[in-house]
């Protein structure tokens, strides 16, 4: 649930309003009620700033901070506060009714930077948020979003990302969670090589991680949400370049006229220049097209007038990779080719006046996925998807016996057109072991067009029942056109402030994921997968900057898409049909403690999870493929002057896998058909590692340079990720984590 948040956005002077995430599920608009608002203004080192002028935008009301940097003033909820101080960038914050926490002012010479400080309550019990600075400071992540996600409680930790989103949340498959950028889904979060996110952390304002219990404005997911919000360009021209052994990129930003800001980012892999030199001559490999990627971003913000703001956002990425597993480049039977690219264009408009707020968005996604293996197997999937969306928010100080009321209602249409040409073997589902690799197997064939016209409407009301209880109730109705299925999903949350600094939150709701992942799209009769989530959270905030939250969850999953009852042992699967016969449960608990104060940033998360599945009625219960009972992440970073130092320690359980017992040799096909033990009946061993990161900044003329060294797995612990089997499944070899991964880079800002 999104509830009124305590958000302070430090941004540029030219914006009339603080920038909430454009086109993302909107924040509630404020009522005109005035509330006492407190906070503290500090510099980058956490030192309180005295004499900072704090005013309400659009009025002459103004106060000044005291020696401790503190201020108190009365302001309407939803109003923007302006912070002005000599030699510092002007900043903005949004009044929400709660203390604003620390407002960090940046030196004017530091270039345009956006930070989010003053912690907002999590979007749901167990949810968490990281801002850009924190994303870049977490050691072991290389400043990358994908790796930063692994510190989140409830996210399965592994040395390699899983699925296209790379995010396995609370015992659910990667496709059960959605990754949104500026409110719209992106099909791929990371590049094939280097496992880097498709958008650099420098262009991100915030990362919201909602592992469950999310708001009615989010949908098409049965597990969690990862929502990235890009940042506007600011009112000062600036440029930034960064290069490392993995990739290099440029970002340019600034104003265009008095009401417009732009941000342009371009990045290209550099690992493809390094990789060929690392492959020994003895390996039978021809890198016909060295793995490489591009990604780009354009964001333009325009303030039309006091009420309307407009946005254009473009995000694109292109990964390509081709190799021949032979020195003979014309050995087409040994060729592997993969290309994944997409471009999303979004135009948005936000209206705000008094008690009314409206968010309008129109987004076009163009995506292509090409995969070719040997001479016969291939898939070429082109998706064109158009998504118009509108959400209206109305606030009221009092209504129907409630106070501080927020009512939201919205609608969205998502029409997808898939042009698919494929010839592939039957795709294994979650829990099914890898079948025999037969490059001639093209038992799944399709060449045609599939339309997925989906419609959704939602509405929700949030209000205070009394001074200690705030509740949200809402409903979302999805109509999945291909399946001709109407999915009504009620959701709600109650938040009780037990006694300062304790708060308790209980959320529950129904969630649906439509059948649109890989081969599901070929089946007309599949229905959506369902989950019922219940989450109980306790939050403890003894003082500003320090927060601990403990949450427990239980998720019941039904209508899971499976192949139904498995074929008899030893036989090849011949039935490719998918059915909604699976069931599953996930139960777990999570602890997240964060500290943000002065030069320190600390993070401690621990997750316990147990997730099981039953593939068809009468089938035995088995472990979920990504079941990870224990995961602990402890990270801290410290910033002083030109130096930033950080470390992260992680320890987590290995994942289950299905061991092979042997094989039967099919002489005519010249392949070995594996025989497996019970699904997921073994587990890889526990893994632990320490990561360290150091950044140092300095000036060289007009350029501000930052060099960084990010070392993963400092003490070179190797552990088993999974196992590879030999050709006849009589031997296996561990695929181990990489012993040490140093990343070194240089960033320049003009």
């Amino acid at each position: 649930m999104r509830i009124p948040v305590v958000v302070a956005v430090v941004t540029s002077t030219s914006l009339a309003l603080a920038q909430p995430p454009e086109a993302s599920p909107p924040q509630e608009a404020p009522p005109a009620q005035k509330v006492p608002t407190t906070g503290r203004v500090v510099d980058m080192l956490g030192k309180p700033l005295r004499g900072v002028k704090v005013g309400i935008e659009g009025t002459t009301e103004r106060v000044t901070t005291d020696a401790q940097g503190r201020f108190v003033l009365s302001a309407p909820i939803g109003a923007s506060l302006v912070f002005e101080f000599d030699s510092y960038q002007t900043s903005l914050a949004t009044v929400t009714g709660d203390p604003l926490g620390d407002i960090v002012l940046l030196n004017a010479s530091m270039g345009e930077t956006i930070e989010l400080k003053g912690e907002a309550p999590p979007a749901a019990p167990g949810a968490a948020q990281l801002d850009r600075t924190e994303l870049q400071r977490v050691p072991g992540t290389g400043g990358d979003i994908v790796r930063a996600l692994t510190i989140m409680p409830g996210v399965v930790n592994l040395q390699i990302p899983l699925g296209y989103s790379g995010v396995v949340i609370r015992g659910a498959s990667p496709q059960d969670s959605k990754v949104l950028i500026d409110g719209f889904e992106v099909p791929v979060l990371f590049h094939n090589i280097g496992f880097r996110a498709v958008t650099p952390a420098e262009t991100i304002a915030t990362l919201d991680f909602i592992p469950g219990g999310f708001d009615v404005a989010y949908g098409r997911a049965s597990s969690g949400i990862v929502s990235l919000t890009t940042r506007p360009g600011g009112n000062k021209r600036a440029a930034q370049a960064e290069v490392s052994f993995i990739d290099g990129g440029l970002i340019a930003q600034g104003p265009a006229g008095g009401k417009t800001e732009y941000l342009v980012a371009l990045r290209r892999s550099t690992i493809d220049f390094v990789l060929p030199a690392l492959i020994p001559d003895s390996v039978d490999l021809s890198l016909t097209t060295v793995p490489r990627y591009w990604d780009e971003q354009i964001r333009i913000d325009h303030r039309l007038n006091a009420r309307w703001k407009l946005l254009f956002a473009n995000l694109g990425t292109d990964d390509i990779f081709e190799l021949v597993a032979s020195k003979q480049e014309d050995a087409k039977d040994k060729r592997f080719f993969n290309r994944t690219r997409f471009m999303r264009n979004t135009i948005g408009a936000k209206y705000h006046e008094g008690e009314w707020t409206a968010d309008l968005g129109l987004s076009l996604l163009l995506q292509q996925f090409v995969f070719e293996l040997g001479s016969n197997q291939f898939i070429d999937n082109k998706l064109t998807s158009l998504t118009p969306r509108v959400e209206i928010t109305r606030t009221a100080a009092k209504a129907a016996g409630l106070t501080d009321v927020v009512w939201r209602t919205g609608a969205e249409v998502q029409v997808g057109r898939y042009a698919i040409d494929l010839a592939l073997p039957v795709e294994p589902r979650e829990g099914e072991p890898m079948p025999e690799i037969d490059f001639d197997d093209t038992s799944t064939r399709f060449n045609g067009t599939v339309y997925t016209p989906d419609f959704v409407g939602w509405t929700a009301v949030t209000g205070n029942l009394d001074k200690t209880i705030r509740a949200t109730t809402g409903v979302r109705a999805d109509f999945f056109g291909r399946a001709r299925q109407l999915a009504i999903q009620p959701r709600g949350e109650v938040q009780v402030k037990v006694a300062k600094p304790w708060a308790v939150r209980l959320a529950a709701g129904s969630y649906h994921r439509p059948p649109q992942y890989q081969s599901e799209i070929l089946e007309k009769n599949l229905q959506s997968e369902k989950s019922l989530q219940t989450i109980l959270g306790v939050q403890y905030e003894p003082r500003e900057g320090l927060r601990a939250q403990l949450s427990g969850y239980y998720t019941d999953r039904t209508s899971l898409i499976t192949h139904g009852a498995p074929p008899p042992p030893g036989s090849s699967r011949v039935d490719s049909g998918l059915v909604n016969e699976g069931r599953g449960t996930s139960v777990g608990g999570e602890l997240l403690a964060t500290y943000r104060g002065g030069p320190w940033f600390g993070w401690l998360s621990y997750s316990y999870s147990h997730s099981t599945r039953i593939d068809a009625p009468g089938q035995p219960k088995r472990l979920f493929t990504f079941d990870q009972p224990h995961s602990l992440n402890a990270a801290a970073s410290w910033k002083k002057g030109k130096w930033t130092l950080g470390g992260r320690f992680q320890v987590y359980s290995g994942l289950p896998f299905t061991p092979a017992l042997g094989s039967i040799f099919d002489s005519d096909r010249n392949i070995h058909i594996p025989l497996y033990a019970d699904p997921n009946s073994e587990r890889a061993p526990i893994h632990h590692q320490l990561d360290l990161r150091v950044d140092r900044s300095w000036k060289a003329g007009p350029v501000r340079l930052t060099g960084f060294l990010d070392i993963q797995n400092v003490y070179m612990n190797t552990s088993v990720v999974t196992f590879f089997y030999n050709y006849d499944f009589t031997q296996r070899s561990a695929f181990e984590s990489l012993p040490i991964i140093p990343s070194i880079g240089l960033r320049g800002e003009l």
Binding site: L323, K327, S667, Y725
Partner: protein, 226 residues
């Protein structure tokens, strides 16, 4: 999944025995001679079997059963130490076609389950109601010279690439296998062998050729590196 496929394609797997390795307990190929027979004709089942630390052998399976169709179980007999398939009459084949959902006149695949000892299991099909021979190995060249007779020892150098070539149609499936040296491009008609320092210096070299109709043939040579 893509990672696993890619790993399989490029042969990741540490110190695991490779698919070209003859120094490993395995069935290299199962042969029906001939692979397709008409009613009343017979086909003999045998195979090429490799063993760790021993030479490959052409021999009859220890056990063979009819996996499907069950109605043709009597087509298989064991006679004088040989497993023999005899194609039944057209009426029985028609019944089998009905059982398997095949069109009238289509050849009926008789799928056999084959066992060598208690650990090596395989599948082999014999096409009934049709006729076809096993393929014949064409031109073969080893280290630039015409391949010698099967019993003739091949001598190659150490730490040099020894090119191997066999004539094959585009649809044929070729495997080069060895227990002496490291094979490269083992599944291409044009492969090469290189005996590394850590490799065995004596063993066997084999080539197996399969055609798309289930026919198979092979040849094995003794080989030594010096």
């Amino acid at each position: 999944m893509r990672l696993l496929i890619l790993a399989a394609l490029v042969g990741c797997g540490g110190d695991l025995d490779q698919p070209w390795d003859l120094d490993h307990d395995r069935i290299v190929a199962i042969r029906a001679n001939p692979p397709a027979i008409l009613s009343g004709e017979t086909s003999e089942i045998d195979g090429l079997v490799a063993a760790k630390g021993a030479l490959t052998m052409e021999r009859s399976p220890d056990q063979v059963i009819v996996a499907k169709p069950e109605s043709l179980a009597s087509a298989l007999t064991f006679d004088n130490g040989k497993w023999i398939v005899t194609a039944p009459d057209e009426a029985a084949l028609d019944a089998a076609r009905t059982e398997l959902g095949l069109e009238a006149g289509a050849s009926v695949p008789l799928q056999l389950g084959v066992a060598y000892g208690e650990t090596l299991f395989g599948l082999k099909s014999v096409a009934l109601g049709n006729t076809a021979p096993n393929p014949v190995l064409g031109v073969m060249r080893i280290d630039g010279s015409e391949a010698p007779a099967p019993t003739t020892e091949i001598v190659v150098g150490k730490l040099v690439d020894v090119p191997l070539l066999v004539e094959a149609n585009e649809d044929d499936d070729v495997n080069w296998l060895t227990s002496c040296g490291t094979m490269h491009d083992f599944d291409l008609p044009s492969a090469y062998l290189r005996v590394e320092v850590e490799d065995l210096t004596e063993g066997e070299l084999a080539v197996v050729l399969r055609d798309p109709t289930g026919g198979v043939t092979w040849q094995v040579w003794p080989i030594r590196a010096e």
